[in-house]
Structures are given as C-alpha cells and as structure tokens.
C-alpha cells in the first residue's frame, strides 16, 4: 500500500454518501440532492467500483442522478454486510471530463412532430426558431438511463428553456418524440404515456434488446440534436427500418 493522499479518507464512499433503506432486497447510496455533474460522476464511479469489488449477493446496480440503487439477494447476504464492505471503497477524485463520444440526433422540430413547440415558445417568450436554436445548440450529457428501455435523461437544458412538466400528461406519446421538462431533455424510445413537452421527433432507435449493450447511449456520453427537414427525417426513418442507418457521431475528446 502506498497511501500518499494527504487526506486519504476523503474519497471513501462512506464519507461521500449515505445509505438509505429500500426494503430488504435493495438499498440506495445517496451522494446528495439535485442534478449535478460531479454527483453524477460519483454515482457512476461507485457503480464501477462496486462491480470490481465483486461482493457476493449483489444482483445489479442502477445509477441515477445522485444515487446508486444496489439490488441484493437477502438469501446470500445482508444490507449490513454489504454496506460495511462498501464504506471503505475509494472513489477517487470526481472528475467531470469532456465526453469521449458525442452522438448527433437528427430531429424534425415543430409541426406534428413537435406539437408543443409553439406553446414552449409562448411560455418562454422566444420565437420557435430560437427555441430550436437553443435546444440544438447545447451539448448534453447522458446522466441517467431509465424510465423506459432506451430512455436517457439528457442534461442540462439552457435555463431559458426550463418549464415544468405538463399539468396533464399525454396518454400516448409517439416513439421518437424529442421532449423537454425542467432541466432535462430526452427522446421517448417507444410509445408511452408522458408528461414532457414534445418539441420534435427523431427516427433513431435507442434500444435493441438483441444488442450488447442494448442501449445506444452510455452514461457520460455527449448528445447533440441537429435540426433535420421533413425529407431527411423520412429518409433516415426508411434507413433505420431497413437496418442500415449508422448513427452520426462528432469527434469526442
């Protein structure tokens, strides 16, 4: 052991997070509250460290914005045993680096593809083109995957686009809908009920249960939306249906 850190305990999981009870088959490791890239980086780092530690009885972990849900089998282990083993895990310095890859999502904005664009423009006091320019002009990061297979919470939105969720969620949101709510944007990968505001549509597919991993995105990826005209949207939709569309990437860093 070559412990050279001046304050060696500072990056230990037990110092950075607290354990919360989630029944007898899971517990949460909570690093704080709110949406923050440093907290999120710690969550993903903790997931990686716990995977490496290969503690018996852990069935899977689910990272979210500021906490990691650890699922375990109480017939093999217990929350107390696992938490004791995890407290000392060294999470290192939380580093938020530029994404290694950046996906580019061609998006048809407004019209029937984005039925809430006009209302978003009204509510924000921006012209619809300005809403599109701001939404498409921001580099987002994949904070969390979840809610639906292939859904990713992408953040953060420019503050001038922040709006609450719809008061009455839609019963059916079409697949590919590009949506915003509060500080997040995302794409509904399949038809689903939903309360986010729909500003556009992309023909891309984000989930393939036969692929490994099954999602296009990985946590920490960068994502940028690119305005596409109706003709290009239709052409990409056909290519996706044929199975010969390769999603665009920008060079990451």
């Amino acid at each position: 052991m070559v412990a050279t850190s001046p304050v060696p305990d500072d990056n230990r999981l037990g110092r950075l997070a607290r354990f919360l009870s989630v029944g007898d088959t899971a517990f949460a490791i909570e690093f704080g509250t709110g949406i923050d890239p440093v907290l999120n980086a710690r969550v993903h780092r903790a997931a990686a460290r716990i995977l490496e530690a290969a503690l018996p009885g852990i069935t899977e972990t689910v990272p979210s914005f500021r906490s990691l849900l650890v699922h375990y089998d109480p017939l093999v282990t217990s929350a107390a045993v696992l938490q004791q083993a995890m407290e000392g895990l060294d999470l290192g310095e939380a580093v938020v680096s530029a994404p290694e890859r950046v996906w580019v999502i061609p998006t048809l904005y407004g019209g029937t593809a984005g039925p809430d664009l006009e209302e978003v423009a009204r509510a924000t006091g921006l012209a619809p083109e300005e809403v599109v320019a701001r939404h498409a002009g921001t580099l987002y990061r994949v904070y969390v995957q979840g809610f639906l297979p292939g859904f990713a919470y992408l953040g953060v939105l420019p503050p001038e686009l922040e709006l609450p969720r719809l008061a009455t969620p839609r019963v059916r949101v079409p697949p590919g809908s590009v949506a915003i709510a509060q500080r997040m944007t995302g794409v509904y990968p399949v038809e689903s009920p939903g309360g986010w505001r729909l500003i556009g549509n992309t023909p891309l597919r984000f989930f393939d249960h036969a692929a490994a991993p099954p999602t296009l995105f990985a946590p920490g990826d960068g994502v940028r939306f690119r305005p596409a005209a109706a003709g290009e949207h239709a052409a990409i939709a056909e290519a996706v249906a044929r199975g010969d569309y390769r999603p665009e990437q920008e060079a990451g860093r």
């Binding site: 088959t25 017939l75 979840g146």
Partner: protein, 346 residues
C-alpha cells in the same frame, strides 16, 4: 414435434412470465416476471420444471386452449380454480395445486380464479419462447420478451419445450393459505423524510383500499392522503419492486413487477420481499394496512419464506387414487359424462 397450446380464449391478461429479468435495469429495462413468485415456483415444481421455467401468468380468469401436437402436463398454483378438460365430448374438472396430464386433442378451460388475482399455469418443459436479456418474461411496455412482448390472444399457438414428463403427476398436499390478513409489512424509506409526522402516522395508522387502477405495474390505493413536507417531486432515483411511491395526490401506489426502473416521486416505504407475493395477489376492493419493520427483520422474513417454499416443494407427492375418487364425487355435477383419467399415459 413438440406440443402447442392453441389459444381459444386468452383471458383478461395472460402473459408468459418467469422469475424476471435482472441485470438490465441500468438500461431502463424493468424486471417484470410473475407477480406471485411463490406461485411460479410451486407451479413449476408441480409440472416437474426448474423454478425459473417460463409459465403463463393468468389474471382474474384463466385462458382456454386446445392441446396440439402431443400431450402436455399442466399445473396451476397461486389461486383456486377449476380446470376443465374436455376430450371427445367428455368433461372433467380438476382443482389447482396438482399436475394434470392432458392428451393431444383435448381442450382445457380455466375458469375464474379465486383467492388471488394472479395465478400461474405451468406446463411441463416450460413455455418455449426465446430468452431476451436473460429472461423469457413478457415486458408489456417495452414490447419484448414472452410471446412477442404482449399478452396472449385468441389464435396464438404457444409452444411447449419438447420432452415427456417422467413419473406420476404430483400434488401439493397442503397448499399455502391464500387468505389475506390485511397487513403488508414495509421498511420505511428511502424518502420517508419527505412526509410530515401526520403523513407518516396516516400511512402506518389507517387502512387503505386497493382501487380499480391495479395492474402489473402497480396498485393505486384509496384512503387518507399523505401530507408532504415540501412536495412529491424528488430528483429521480432507482425504484425497487414493492416501493410505495406517492405522487402529488398524496395517495400511495405500490409498485409491482413491471414498474419503471427510475422515477421522480417520493417513496415513503418498500413492501418487504416476503410480502410481495401477497401484494401481487391483491384484488380491487381489498383492504390493507402497512406495518413498519426493520431491514434485518425483513431479511429474516424473506429467509423464513424461502424455508417455507422449500418445504412445500419437498412435500409434493404423487396424486393419490383416493383424491381422484373424491374429486370425481366433488365435481360430479359438472360432468357431462364419463371421466378422463388424470394420469393416463396416452
């Protein structure tokens, strides 16, 4: 050629389920799987299968189907039900909690379930559908797993894994009681601190009723609304099966097998895993109270349930001839004519 079930009446929601799809929740893939995991294991044991073999979960009313391509061995667990087997105009009725050999060409009708809203019909060999991300469970929302990611419909041919079951039909001599004592045990948290003292007191001190909004994702409860300190919204975090989330209405929702992987409502408590099969059986109108226990006690309750399941499976015995006679008398009123012997090797 292996046997198939040609579905003539699918029932309200019959889906292919196993013990669930773990390991992909980080990708947003819910666990799914049987609402009553104990029923799945017992049905599979009765049919001579591995515990995780794919079976049919029936809600409220079971399906009707014709057996094609070879005989099958069936067993229902998790609810009381009459299983009517008709062959060449002769109908015979069998109860749950035992295996039944059904010859090729016979039709099977499973009536209304009693004692639970979610029974499991296992077929010896298991339902033959491809595994997706390590499981054969149906993900209704994602549209994959099971039979094309959906519930059964009339005209479906459900394939059964080939192989002839060996040995006599088994029965469970003392089926577990389905009576609900009205209590679900919970561990408080992870966001119990989002609620006022009065809110927590109402949650643990008053009765709730299962509303009509109850499905595989969760059951919405009617009763005293729970007061928040600040509000229902939290920064979205991971959800465990059994989590009790409370949206702005203040009325709790117990999340079941098909729940989403992350969510943004405060979760006041989590139903302990030993009580999840009971939660899965609940029907609209059922009254219940929540009782708080510690994590250690909940883990011990789960181990106790496991010992009980293991001992139930160890207690399986060949169907007694006496039981056949009793049944013939019991169901005589239902007989059109004659008797199809349960375990004929035909």
């Amino acid at each position: 050629m292996s046997a198939r079930l040609l579905v003539t009446q699918p029932g309200p929601q019959t889906t292919v389920q196993d013990l669930g799809r773990t390991g992909a929740q980080a990708y947003g893939v819910p666990v799914c799987g049987a609402l009553d995991g104990v029923a799945l294991r017992l049905a599979n044991a009765l049919a001579g299968n591995e515990p995780n073999a794919a079976a049919l979960e029936c809600r409220l009313i079971g399906p009707s189907f014709t057996v094609e391509g070879g005989p099958v061995r069936l067993a229902i667990a998790g609810a009381e039900a009459a299983i009517e087997v008709t062959r060449e105009g002769e109908t015979r009725s069998y109860p749950a909690w035992r295996a039944i050999d059904v010859p090729e060409g016979a039709s099977v009708r499973i009536g209304a379930l009693r004692g639970s809203g979610a029974a499991v019909l296992a077929v010896a060999g298991g339902i033959d559908v491809p595994a997706v991300l390590g499981s054969r469970a149906t993900d209704l929302k994602g549209g994959f797993g099971g039979l094309d990611g959906r519930a059964l419909k009339a005209g479906d041919r459900v394939a059964v894994v080939a192989g002839t079951p060996a040995g006599p039909c088994l029965e469970l001599p003392r089926p577990p009681s389905l009576a609900f004592d009205g209590v679900l045990r919970v561990v408080l948290g992870p966001q119990d601190d989002s609620f006022t003292e009065e809110g927590l007191a109402a949650f643990l001190g008053t009765a709730y009723r299962v509303s009509r909004e109850a499905d595989r994702m969760g059951i919405r409860l009617d009763g005293a609304p729970l007061a928040f300190r600040a509000g229902a919204d939290i920064t979205s975090d991971g959800i465990a099966t059994g989590a009790i989330q409370v949206p702005g209405s203040g009325l709790p929702i117990v999340l079941l097998a098909d729940h989403q992987t992350v969510g943004g409502y405060a979760k006041i408590a989590t139903v302990i895993s030993a009580d999840l099969p009971r939660a899965g059986r609940l029907l609209p109108g059922a009254e219940l109270r929540f009782k708080a226990v510690g994590v250690g006690e909940a883990e011990e309750a789960r181990r106790a349930l496991e010992r009980e399941v293991v001992s139930l499976i160890a207690s399986l015995t060949p169907v007694r001839a006496a039981a056949e006679i009793d049944l013939a008398a019991l169901y005589a009123a239902n007989l059109i004519s004659g008797v199809v012997t349960a375990c004929d090797p035909e």
